[in-house]
Subunit: 407 residues, 2 copies
């Protein structure tokens, strides 16, 4: 008998019929001789409707965050009740638990709370009594009993954290794709499903544009050593196992190629090259809550330098506003230039640590395809380049082929 | 400074704009120098939608009741969050509490739980910190932390029970009518709003068809001496005060006239008049969960008697089925007759205790209008008659006039 945690996303439970399909799968898993905790998200569309209602009753200001959590938590509470009903109707035995009832304690940061502790006594007792436990994703409660939500990707986090707390044998993240692919199959038709991927690779894929999971859930799994599988709720295909690195993994140089569109570049030319300049620029950016990605500073010449960085295209206007305000302090000749319509292509793999020539191979593939590289950034297990947005799909394809990922 | 509990029903909070109207009223009440706890129901239509979803995921059986409570409780949780947001957006300070968070403990009878205890520490603390407390109606939790709901009229009960627990100075039940009327104004155009009514009269009005409030909330208010006011959330008119009986109240013989449609009558003719017969009949009815109203047994003749009783028309088929099964045990000649399309008209008033001739006056008014009386039932403060359904409105009008209630 294994102890299994499953997680079903909003699309998988988006209609009564889909809820019944999930109920059948959960029940089959239990009837195969396992104990099952199933984490569910709000039905797709429900959270957006609640946010719309919140804006309508609070047009003067952003809805107050404590109450936003009380409101949004109803979405998952609805799904656990409906799924538990469906399982009972199909002849099984299921009991629902909200985050609070399941002992998920968080800090007090409403709308993006962090899990600080899990007391899984109620979950264990209900499992031992023969129940399937339907657990509300995305939510917890503070030490003083206030409802909190965990922010984006919160239901994945609930599943992985509960799997760690109850020492589950298996954690399955059900979604609407078959697993993690070597590249987005809509872009690269020859993309292959990855059988196994390390936490670090998964993290780099997530942070460089792969949409399968939020980084924080993968970080949490890494920290607590929770092995999990990403798989499809609509079929029985095996998915992708995400786990700690094993020696054999390094034989693959590049695990996957990810792409991130709608990037923008800001260049500040002719900046005085003296201490405090970078602090002035990135301090201003930080106060505007803008996240930046790559940063490149050219070699100084005559006490003058250039600084470039990339950011999401959606944040460009905000960044320009704050930078124009500090520009006069950056030197007499400092000028601001911006470029939108750029994109990032990254290759990721822990094999890079022990294999040289990855960057050179990538650059040659792009050069052969006459794609211009505008910026380069590397980390231990990732090499990323900025190209023109119009060329990003072609760039992903030629790089995917160059590293032998098509087969 | 007064401590006020207000309750707003589903129609009063049925749209974002109506929620903002309630928020304004609640905030005005606080700004007039009071502490306010506001109990809200689910937005109108929400509960029905949830019940529909529950039936869709559980077509094989009635949705399991524990989960029905988890599901339905989201309706009020949504409203408390939205109303608290609206109050905050309007410049006030409000905090929402679910039934569980507010310390409302119930028994374990899911979907119709009874309140066993209220620990209002959280409510008091939040009030003392200057907050308006938005309290979810209709819900509580068991000693072991399971979510329960209180059944029909549950939000009124929440308001009255919390008013008792925190020793509120005033409890206002906001609805979509101006108060309790001497009769349904849609039937009797000259019906008047009642300024004050005793708990007992309110109870008799409720149990004889007046739809303003469920009996159990009035009984609770009576038991704990909670004086409350029924008033309209759409205007500022004074409502009806419901309170303990005062000496002056007896000067009014009849407080109001109520009518109840869709009744049915069952007669069992030629029943053997021996011990155990009534138990057999009404035991069978009870096992079918059918509530009966009036019972009349004729004087026995030659060891044979007739028994008649009334019940809701909706329950008639169910009652016939169980009675046909026991009929052979009721005597050789026992026969079943049924009649639907009847209705009940009642006059209610604590003044009846000290004034004679109420029944006679009622019967004369009906006779003058050529309305036939089919059954009669009396209690200390109520006289009720069964008439043909087609005549019930005319009956209510002539009785209303006869007791001087038109002016």
């Amino acid at each position: 008998m294994a102890l299994i945690v499953q997680k079903y996303g909003g699309t998988s439970v988006g209609t009564p019929e889909r809820i019944r399909n999930c109920a059948r799968r959960i029940l089959e898993t239990q009837r195969a001789g396992n104990q099952v905790v199933a984490v569910v998200s709000a039905m797709s569309g429900v959270t957006d409707n609640l946010i719309k209602l919140a804006k309508e009753v609070s047009p003067e200001r952003d809805p107050i965050e404590r109450e936003m959590d009380v409101l949004l938590a109803t979405g998952e509470q609805t799904t656990i009740a409906l799924t538990a009903m469906a399982i009972n109707a199909l002849g099984g035995k299921a009991v629902s638990l909200t985050g609070a009832q399941a002992g998920i304690s968080t800090d007090r940061v409403h709308t993006k709370a962090r899990i600080v502790n899990i007391t899984p006594d109620a979950v264990k007792q209900m499992l031992d009594e023969g129940n399937i436990v339907m657990l509300a994703g995305f939510q917890g409660e503070t030490a003083s009993g206030e409802i909190t939500t965990l922010g984006r990707g919160g239901s994945d986090l609930t599943a992985i954290a509960m799997a760690a707390a109850i020492k589950a044998d298996l954690c399955q993240i059900y979604t609407d794709v078959d697993g993690v692919y070597t590249c987005d199959p809509r872009v690269v038709k020859t993309a292959q499903k990855i059988q196994e991927i390390s936490y670090e690779e998964m993290l780099e894929m997530a942070s460089s544009g792969s949409k399968v999971m939020q980084s924080r859930s993968v970080e949490f799994a890494n920290k607590f050593g929770v092995r999990f599988e990403v798989r499809n709720s609509m079929n029985n295909n095996p998915g992708t196992i995400v786990k700690e690195e094993t020696p054999g993994m390094e034989s693959v140089v590049v695990r996957g190629v990810s792409l991130e569109r709608n990037q923008a570049k800001v260049t500040i030319d002719d900046v005085a090259d003296r201490p405090g300049i970078s602090a002035a620029i990135f301090g201003a950016i930080a106060t505007a809550n803008v996240t930046i990605d790559m940063i490149v500073q050219n070699v100084s010449f005559d006490g003058i330098t250039d600084i470039s960085f990339t950011l999401s295209g959606a944040d460009l206007a905000k960044a320009e506003t704050v930078l124009n305000a500090v520009l006069p302090t950056l030197g007499d000749k400092a000028k601001l230039r911006t470029q939108s319509s750029i994109a990032k292509v990254s290759v990721v793999g822990i094999g890079m640590r022990s294999h040289s020539g990855v960057a050179a191979k990538m650059f040659k593939a792009l050069a052969d395809a006459k794609i211009n590289i505008q910026m380069i950034s590397t980390s231990e297990i990732k090499t990323a380049v900025i190209v023109d947005e119009a060329e990003v799909e072609n760039a992903a394809r030629v790089v995917h082929t160059a590293f032998g990922l098509d087969a």
